[in-house]
């Protein structure tokens, strides 16, 4: 008698459901905590035992972080301290992360064509580029601070944009190369027979086929640049202020501003989660430099 086997995927048992619930609580609770803290008034920030839900929810934390007028700050904190509105940080972050990302993707795209289609650079170039990403940023920044002071690039938009572009370009090169490698060379070869030049063949034949991949790569790199903290902290002193620097800036004021900080954190993270979820199919490929095609 032949044993009958089910060829479907195995179903979940009770224990597995229990494990899943515990896992979900562990991974979702910190997000929930950040969210409710952003709606808590000051007296609920550090109460013991902690409130699992804001008793008197307020949106003042959000208002005060964007428009810190005197009355608002007094309502939230009970006393007045001067702090800068976070609106500048949003604009600066958008400029620096946006332009840094575009530069990284354009430069990376060109280099990816060179490596993939013309065998220029090859493994040593790819290794060097990878090294840029693997080195701890703290190691890279030691001489960069000195170099930038010599050039007068400290605390400028172009200085930060160039640094961001250089250190995220490795992802662009590796990921976009993996997309180009998937397009058969023959397509370009036949276009060449019709009289297109090599560069025109890249941009008119291959580029349209990898549009989706480049879009995903752009969002992926934007996520990295929007989140970057160390370079922004050590290469700027107030002229350019990015969001991560702004979030930590409140650490040094009298006490901690849990509510407003959490509110700013939520606002800073929303675009990351939206874009990250949009490109979730490409996240594995992005994080592994194109090696794992999710």
């Amino acid at each position: 008698m032949v044993k009958r086997v089910s060829l479907e995927k195995p179903k979940m048992g009770v224990l597995e459901y229990l494990a899943l619930i515990i896992v979900l609580i562990f991974f979702m609770f910190p997000i929930y905590w950040l969210l409710i803290t952003s709606f808590k008034p000051k007296m609920e920030w550090l109460v013991s035992p902690p409130y699992w839900f804001p008793r008197n929810p307020t949106i003042l934390n959000y208002l005060v972080i964007l428009f810190p007028i005197k009355e608002g700050v007094e309502m939230v904190l009970g006393s007045y301290i001067v702090f800068k509105p976070a609106t500048k940080a949003f604009i600066d972050s958008a400029i620096v992360a946006g332009l840094g990302t575009i530069l990284a993707v354009v430069v990376g795209l060109l280099a990816a064509f060179a490596v993939s289609r013309h065998n220029i650079g090859g493994n040593s170039f790819m290794g060097l580029v990878l090294m840029l990403r693997m080195a701890p940023p703290m190691v890279a920044i030691v001489p960069l601070i000195v170099f930038y002071s010599l050039l007068g690039f400290v605390d400028t938009y172009h200085g930060l944009i160039l640094a961001y572009a250089t250190f995220t370009m490795p992802y662009a090169v590796w990921i976009i190369k993996s997309f180009i490698d998937e397009v058969p060379r023959e397509l370009e070869d036949s276009a060449r027979l019709d009289g297109l030049s090599p560069l025109a063949a890249h941009f008119k034949i291959t580029l349209p086929l990898i549009k989706g991949g480049i879009f995903a790569t752009t969002l992926f790199i934007w996520i990295l640049n929007w989140s970057e903290y160390l370079f922004a902290l050590l290469l700027t002193h107030g002229n350019v202020v990015t969001l991560p620097v702004q979030i930590t800036a409140y650490q040094t004021y009298a006490g901690l501003l849990y509510g407003p900080q959490a509110a700013l954190a939520i606002l800073a993270v929303i675009p990351l989660v939206v874009f990250g979820t949009t490109i979730r199919r490409y996240l594995a490929r992005g994080l592994t430099f194109g090696a794992i095609r999710g």
Binding site: V107, A135, Y229, A284, I292
Partner: protein, 301 residues
């Protein structure tokens, strides 16, 4: 005019033009932002330079003294290296095991698995500074972590997590596990989903149990993906900095000094730029060996 455009196009598409157009911008960026500073770092690493000594080009040269001191008598530096390595080994092992377990769980069929998948990816989209802030708040003495521990243990727990080295290490570990287990989970799941169902069906028909299929069929097939994930995570976890700054909350005593914090203190607080450069270059050398000998091979296989 037309002939100029034609000639330009011909030049750009020539044997000399193509590398210039395609590789030129990348080479320029790397040279300008990475190679020149790197050369500067090598020079500085052979000097005792700090900003009070004036122009960096007039600095006295002490040749390899920085390196000798770092590797033979600077126990603070060596401890920072050791801490970084220890944290990496512990964090990456736990994240790998949890990630594999999670992926095996989610790979099954159950209602809502799509939503659970998306939810589990969210932590790794968070910026490190926000993760640091979030866990800083939760690890406060009156925060939810102590409260949950109180409920479980039955008597009040009042651990001040972020004020001594050991509990700070545990807090950092939990933070990193929360932040990056989703990465291991995602890579493992991608690997599992790439396995042809025929292989699994064949094993099933031969009477293999679920555990045997996972251990003997699936795991060997995703080995390469796991190696890549582990290698990348291991190097990334040497970079941890943002969370520790948040945990210190404005204090200058960081309690848990890994290699990034060490470099920050020596470079930006003590202003010993030359000495910090030497310390940084040793790290860079270690990372370079790992990158070229291991990661490059894994990625291009």
């Amino acid at each position: 005019m037309k002939s100029f455009v034609k000639r330009l196009s011909d030049f750009l598409n020539s044997k000399r033009g193509i590398p210039l157009v395609l590789m030129g911008p990348a080479q320029f960026l790397i040279f300008f932002i990475a190679i020149i500073p790197f050369a500067l770092e090598i020079y500085l690493s052979f000097t005792p330079w700090s900003p009070t000594m004036g122009s960096i080009f007039n600095s006295p040269i002490n040749w390899g003294m920085n390196y000798v001191k770092l590797l033979t008598s600077d126990f603070r530096y060596l401890a920072a290296l050791g801490r970084t390595a220890l944290f990496t080994v512990i964090a990456v092992s736990i994240e790998l095991l949890l990630g594999i377990g999670l992926a095996a769980l989610i790979d099954k069929e159950f209602p809502g698995s799509g939503i659970v998948f998306v939810l589990l990816l969210i932590p790794m989209m968070f910026m490190p500074v926000v993760v640091g802030l979030d866990f800083y708040m939760m690890f406060q003495p009156t925060g939810p972590v102590n409260h949950v521990l109180s409920i479980i243990s039955g008597h009040p727990v009042k651990i001040d997590w972020l004020t001594n080295e050991f509990t700070l290490f545990i807090a950092l570990l939990i933070t990193d596990i929360w932040h990056w287990t989703p990465f291991m989970f995602l890579i493992t799941l991608c690997g599992l989903r790439a396995i042809s169902p025929n292989m699994v069906d064949a094993a099933k028909t031969l009477g293999a149990s679920e555990w045997q299929i996972f251990r003997k069929v699936k795991l060997p097939m995703i080995r390469n993906a796991l190696l890549i994930a582990v290698a990348i995570r291991a190097l990334e976890s040497t970079k941890i900095y943002d969370e520790l700054i948040m945990f210190a909350a404005g204090r200058t005593n960081y309690l848990y000094e890994n290699i990034s914090i060490w470099t920050y203190i020596v470079n930006c607080v003590q202003n010993q730029i030359g000495y910090a450069s030497s310390g940084a270059l040793i790290v860079l050398l270690i990372i370079a060996i790992i990158t070229f000998k291991l990661i490059l091979k894994l990625l291009t296989r």
